[in-house]
Symmetry: C2
Amino acid sequence: MDLPDDRPEVISPMKRVEAHSLVDDIAQQLETAIVSGELRPGTKLSEQGLAKTLGVSRSPLREAIRRLEGRKLIERTPNIGARVAQLSPTELYDLLVVREALEGMASRRAAENMTEADVARLRELLHEHALQQEASAGAGYYQQGRDFDFHFLIIRASRNDRLIAMLCDDLYDLLRVYRYNSSTKPGRAKKALEEHEAIVEAIASRDGDRAEDAMRRHLRNARAHLERELADQGSVARAPGPGAL
Amino acid sequence: MDLPDDRPEVISPMKRVEAHSLVDDIAQQLETAIVSGELRPGTKLSEQGLAKTLGVSRSPLREAIRRLEGRKLIERTPNIGARVAQLSPTELYDLLVVREALEGMASRRAAENMTEADVARLRELLHEHALQQEASAGAGYYQQGRDFDFHFLIIRASRNDRLIAMLCDDLYDLLRVYRYNSSTKPGRAKKALEEHEAIVEAIASRDGDRAEDAMRRHLRNARAHLERELADQGSVARAPGPGAL
DNA sequence: ATCTTGTCGATTGTCGACAGTGTTCTATCG
DNA sequence: CGATAGAACACTGTCGACAATCGACAAGAT
């Protein structure tokens, strides 16, 4: 029995070419088109039109739409068509409540699991944010991508794949569709930065309870901020009333 | 196999039957087949076979599979086929962590929003559980459906549609696939009942903090119980299960 | 005897076409 | 002139067929 030691003629380290199905490609394209804003919420997705645009047949396109439908990124009404998911203010609020729950838990797990190197990276990010905010002082509108980086780093540190997928893949996609940002106004941005600091501190000291609490406080504040903005815009009041169920 | 007589123009008054598309039906059938155990985790879903069994063509079947794929109930590998989602012990644990976060939040919102009538119904359920447990004293294996009723009632009372959908439609489906029950052993059942009582009490007194805490404690205990069971079983040894199918 | 390689069968991926349904435009009637 | 009924159109829903790919088995070479 000779030792296998089989790396015989593999010169290049095995490019794992991941059997990309056409449906995967289409779904990916649709997803990026939606979250990038190219396809706005409520846009009707014509099968024929899209198929022609993407240069594919309707069958794989329909399957891609079905998958995104399962992820709640696309809504479909029989015999009418598919539309990009559109959230009412109430639905957005509900989604942010879910986010508070999930990301609070992620923050807790991150405090327990995050490597020192990642903690350092987190501090670095925080520092960059602070600098950026000083620079763009009043007009501060601090970059959406940066904020996402901060939250994503924490979420991934939770080491919980399901949690990561639900937040990074599904929930944040929906928030991106709405150009939602926790700190779009200068006053809020400053406060948000302080809250971020509190979160990092809690994580650095490996205090799960405090980390969850800080994150949830942060997200609650952001939500309240949004509510005020929506109220200012005089949009529809929540008013679900004790009717249902 | 011809379809059932398509009695063409029955003057049925306004069949506002939500335009059931064939894909919806198939997806529903697949879902129930999976959660009922008829299709065990890891089972390969042959398109031809299933299409012939259900009496439909492959196209709508494939679309239904895609939707369930988006919901993580089915996993698919290109050119190989679709399989019923299979959770490793780690993935099950991760899922239960997510459940703790979401259902804790649901419990909090329930404490804030639940009607008095529903609180009464909750107490009633609790009472039924207690009776049933006394009856089947030692052998207690208290019924999965009942336990679900309890949790579902609380979740729905959260008045958060997104939260409700995530828990009732998606997460609990996955747990059902694994015949997961928070209290499968007598000793645990008794303690679970006490924990349920604590939850109800917190909700009844409209204390959101305590309601969330009690629910999360309950779910953590259940999770720890499962961990011990898995550890006892050592290897995977997936017991034949309750003779499903 | 074992490993490689070519072929076969089966299954999945994709496509074009037809049928059913919703929408819209128009023509006619009140 | 406005409203309504009808028809034409466009779109989605479903199907069967063809192409591409994977797994298995068998034959040959080392």
